[in-house]
């Protein structure tokens, strides 16, 4: 059995009387690319915030890289990386300066930063841009730099938030290629996205609606099960089914929505 990287048991988070995450059980394995899908308000953000150690659960258990989200949230923050489509890079710093800055934030020593910088320049093909202002980078390279910075401290788990929407297909494929290489070295990847083409790159996807899991499987199996060609269609079908259940709890009840 592969090693478990993230595990939740009956995880719950309430906001007042609203149940944002409702009894969620997942197991994510090491070296897995795990996709996290859901419409707005499905509970994805709450879930991610709990797993990043930013929000305490209301009840249930959760461990991230073996660390407990209740008691070890500071260690969790140190052992994860986060990269968002809304880049957190400083646009008025050069590529090199951004790397140095983030290296400092992660408390890496000069030697380590230099090693990491060389790695980013070489493996992400960014050497020519070392002294370029981040603002002037092509979008695909900004993305690579953001990824490089998120990996500076060798996190065990990397969270990606809609990492490639809007970039050109070539850059997108190159990006996922890098992700696959990162995974091969032992990192676990959590992807949250609205963009169903990104879901196709995941080993398994997890679809959430109203705080609950409504599907958890590989993209191929889900497409076969619902006889759909794309994850977009699978997603829409599943969520619509849920909504029908909600609006028509009994076959003969009046539809209050219309």
């Amino acid at each position: 059995m592969p090693e478990i990287s993230v595990k939740t048991e009956n995880l719950v988070r309430n906001f007042g009387s609203f149940v944002a995450v409702n009894q969620v059980n997942i197991e994510v394995y090491q070296k897995e690319i795990f996709g996290f899908l859901g419409a707005n308000g499905a509970g994805k953000t709450t879930m991610i915030r709990m797993l990043c150690g930013l929000l305490k659960p209301s009840s249930g258990k959760a461990t991230v890289g073996g660390l407990d989200v209740y008691r070890q949230s500071e260690q969790i923050k140190r052992s994860i990386g986060y990269m968002s489509q809304k880049f957190s890079l400083y646009e008025d710093l050069t590529v090199e300066e951004n790397i140095n800055f983030y290296g400092g934030i992660y408390d890496l020593n000069q030697k380590r930063i230099q090693k990491k910088r060389d790695e980013i320049f070489f493996s992400l093909g960014m050497g020519d841009y070392a002294r370029t202002l981040t603002y002037d980078l092509p979008l695909g390279f900004k993305q690579r730099l953001a990824l490089g910075c998120a990996l500076l401290h060798d996190p065990r788990i990397l969270f990606l938030d809609e990492p490639t929407s809007g970039v050109d297909p070539k850059a997108r494929r190159d990006f996922w290629e890098i992700i696959h290489q990162t995974v091969a070295l032992g990192t676990t990847i959590f992807v949250t996205t609205h963009f169903m083409e990104e879901a196709e790159y995941c080993h398994r996807v997890f679809i959430m609606d109203a705080g609950k899991i409504i599907a958890l499987d590989t993209p191929t199996k889900l497409k076969n099960r619902y006889k759909k060609k794309s994850m977009q269609e699978v997603f829409v079908t599943l969520v619509e089914k849920q909504q029908e259940k909600k609006t028509n709890p009994m076959p003969d009840s009046n539809d209050k929505m219309s």
Partner: protein, 305 residues
Amino acid sequence: MKVIEITDYCKRYDGVAAVEGVTLKVEYGELFGLIGPDGAGKTTLLRAICTLLTPDEGKILVMGKDVTQSIMDIRSLVGYMPQRFSLYQDLSVEQNLRFFADLFGVTEGKRERRLLQLFEFSRLAPFKKRKAGELSGGMKQKLSLSCALIHTPEILVLDEPTYGVDPISRQEFWEILRSIQKEKTTILVSTAYMDEADLCDRVALMHQGKITMVGTPEKIKASFHYHLYRLEGKDVRFLRDFFQKLPSVRSTQLFGDTVHVSFCKKPALSDWKNWQRDSRGNLKRWASQPPSMEDVFMESTEKER
């Protein structure tokens, strides 16, 4: 007469071409998609059509009128939904609509009926009194669309209306576009989501300021030159590395639990049998995979390079 006719349009910012030599025609009543990644020049082109930018070179005609001459005429013909939410956040849904009706000179007689129609398709009536700033993403998008439609334009221009919107709202939005099209409105919509190309009658693929292909989604996809297969097996990384080394393979792409391999020449059954043996039993299944718009887009940009 074409609804929109663009000839050799060029626009530069500080000497850098945002749009370079674009020629394009949009026909009456069609739902036309401008498909390309961020930075392809989509917004520049759409703004130029809406009379918001002057060309450095070339010409744009909207219903036969020149965008640099008949500015006010064209603005009354075109409804424009910009990329960013640009409504007044502290006005209610209804106040925003009435404000836009004033701006576009919608007469009293027509106004109430139009509001009713717009509330009906957008299903925003229950939220009339809510402030625009307090709407969800999907509702904001429908309000922007309603405001762009307030003067019953003949042409609707939308700049990435579904950006960042969840898949369900996205699907609903496309259904609304279809219903608007049925009322004989010509629609020009841009998107960076390649899969949305399939929802348009015709599309233009745009890359680095240029149009690389134009046609129906079916025709564009049929133009794909290679033979694409979807492979499944025990260890997909191993499979990928195995196929990448073959001389007849043009490219490989690792997805979650599958590998896509594009071949220059269609493999024979005997080839597959050999590969099955040579890959040490790793190859479990293979099936022809219809190319996606993304595959075609990549091919069209590679040719250019």
